[in-house]
């Protein structure tokens, strides 16, 4: 008990004193993670779609993404210093490489999971290949796709704390400097917001995933039907 009280006092006084800095670093953290996520999605979703049309390439590309994902993240950051030097570019690139796998794999698997007879039927009704992708394959693959994005997002937010190890910004700054100076209150001032960010993003995407689940959709439509009937 005696030990805890001064620690919380320390923590609160640190937060009270440095909250603008904590907010600033949180914002940096969000920025780095968002850019990394945006690049991941912009590259991996089209790439995953491309792989469903060129299946021979799929094992190689997904294999490569798997390799990046397997390299310990700190080591990956280290390697990339050779290319990008130190700073946020390096961190963002590493986060992208690290998070490729779940998005790529789930895009590929999601689209492959769409039964071939549905694609044939869509084609038979006169949809162009682009319309088949947009109106049939992607919507049906959506829950699997969002699941992959969810995994990638949590990984990115978590791993972004390591960015400061190579000179990037973000909440990792507090964690690393706290660890170096053995000041737990500083470590926590970085770790707590990082955790909240990851959990919030996770919950948000989980909600989205449920929003598009067949059950939720059927419920929404049942409501729509009822309100329609009342109008009649």
């Amino acid at each position: 008990m005696l030990v805890q009280k001064p620690f919380f006092e320390l923590f609160f006084s640190y937060v009270m004193r440095y909250w603008p800095r904590i907010l600033n670093l949180t914002w940096q953290h969000i920025t780095i993670s968002s850019i990394a996520l945006a690049i991941t999605l912009a590259v991996c979703i089209p790439l995953g779609i491309y792989l469903t049309k060129n299946e021979k390439l799929a094992p190689y590309v997904i294999g490569a993404a798997n390799v990046f994902q397997t390299i310990p993240s700190l080591a990956l950051l280290g390697f990339l210093i050779l290319i990008f030097g130190i700073g946020n570019d390096n961190a963002i690139c590493a986060l992208f490489l690290y998070a490729m796998l779940p998005v790529l794999q789930n895009t590929y698997a999601g689209i492959k999971s769409v039964p071939q007879h549905l694609v044939q039927a869509a084609r038979g009704m006169g949809m162009t290949e682009y319309q088949i992708l947009l109106k049939v394959q992607l919507p049906i693959a959506r829950p699997i796709l969002i699941a992959g994005i969810r995994v990638a997002t949590v990984w990115i937010i978590g791993t972004a704390t390591l960015a400061s190890a190579i000179g990037g910004g973000g909440l990792g700054r507090l964690i690393f400097s706290g660890l170096a100076s053995i000041r737990n209150e500083v470590v926590l001032a970085g770790a707590i917001p990082a955790t909240i960010l990851a959990l919030t993003a996770d919950q948000g995407l989980k909600w989205l995933q449920e929003f598009y689940s067949p059950k939720a959709r059927a419920l929404r439509h049942a409501r729509k039907t009822r309100s329609y009937d009342q109008q009649m």
């Binding site: 009704m125 067949p214 039907t225």
Partner: protein, 377 residues
Amino acid sequence: MVLFEQVRKVYEDGTVAVDNLDLEIAKGEIAVLIGPSGCGKTTSLKMVNRLEALTSGTITVDGRNINDVDPVKLRRNIGYVVQEVALMPHMSVAENIGTVPRLLGWDHKRISKRVDELLALAKLEPGKYRYRFPEQLSGGQKQRIGVLRALAVDPELILMDEPFGALDPISRENLQNELLDLQKVVKKTIIFVTHDMDEALRMADKVVIMRQGRIEQMGSPDEIQENPKNDFIRGFIGEDRLAQISPDSPVEPLIQEPLLRVKPSVSAAEVLDLMEDEGCETAQVIDSDDRWKGMAMLGLLKRAARKGGAVTNGVRVDRKLFSEDATIRDAAEMLSDQDIPIPVVDEHGSFIGVVSSAGMAKLTISRLTRKGKGGKA
């Protein structure tokens, strides 16, 4: 309306699926392609809307060589119904029916008016069904929607590939009748694929019997029945077999696929869900070696599900027939005793199929109609 001239299809692997097919289908006619599995029915159909390219020959639709029409445009003007129904699971009934109108850029009002009109045509109350999802429909309802979707933009020509093949005999017969009624109103040209001779004889204006990519015989249902060209056709019509059937003949011609097959490892609760979806009260439990493990029954399953058990805790194994010695009389007696499907197994315990009262009724009806030589019921 549709003209096949010397149409040939060789797949990349060298399979000759369709071999020099010549066929003319008149406007407003239902032409039924029938033949054993793999004889080229699906391929012939898919060449009409260019889902498969012709290797040689020409197909003309409404006087135009299909190869001169953009495939996407061509397909939007030809209705297409497939066995798997293939309703889009993420779209409501209204969205599914409205697919082609949307592709053609119709405005919302016009689409929803058309959707309601079509639902009413199939005697499905629009207010009730418009916003349902495919998973909330029975098999028969799904296929009705599949047919309506093909009718949405009022195409002259409709292709149907075993549209009722996955349905139980009773729904199938209902849908056949509905389609025939509908056809009296809409008068489309329909190419209809099936492997069920009874269905062909009921639906067709022209029956086209195919074998190994070629036409074996073609004619009206009456012509085919009165003058089967050879033993292949006779065998296919099943005339001899049906003529000789007596109560003491083997049960074999009555055997059908069960509505529901499940693996022994599935939980009782899951099977209850499946039964509800299929609208049936029994399911056959069959392992991966095709061995019959019992017939799951609604009452027993409910009890097993409450205990959280596997489906095998809710089965009956004593009520069955052996394919080698069971007669139609045996089946009839068992069915009049208790009107639920009877599983049929062979001497090794492998599952063959089920005999149901619907199958029994169907056999009786087809015998009666054949005797009277009236092709169409």
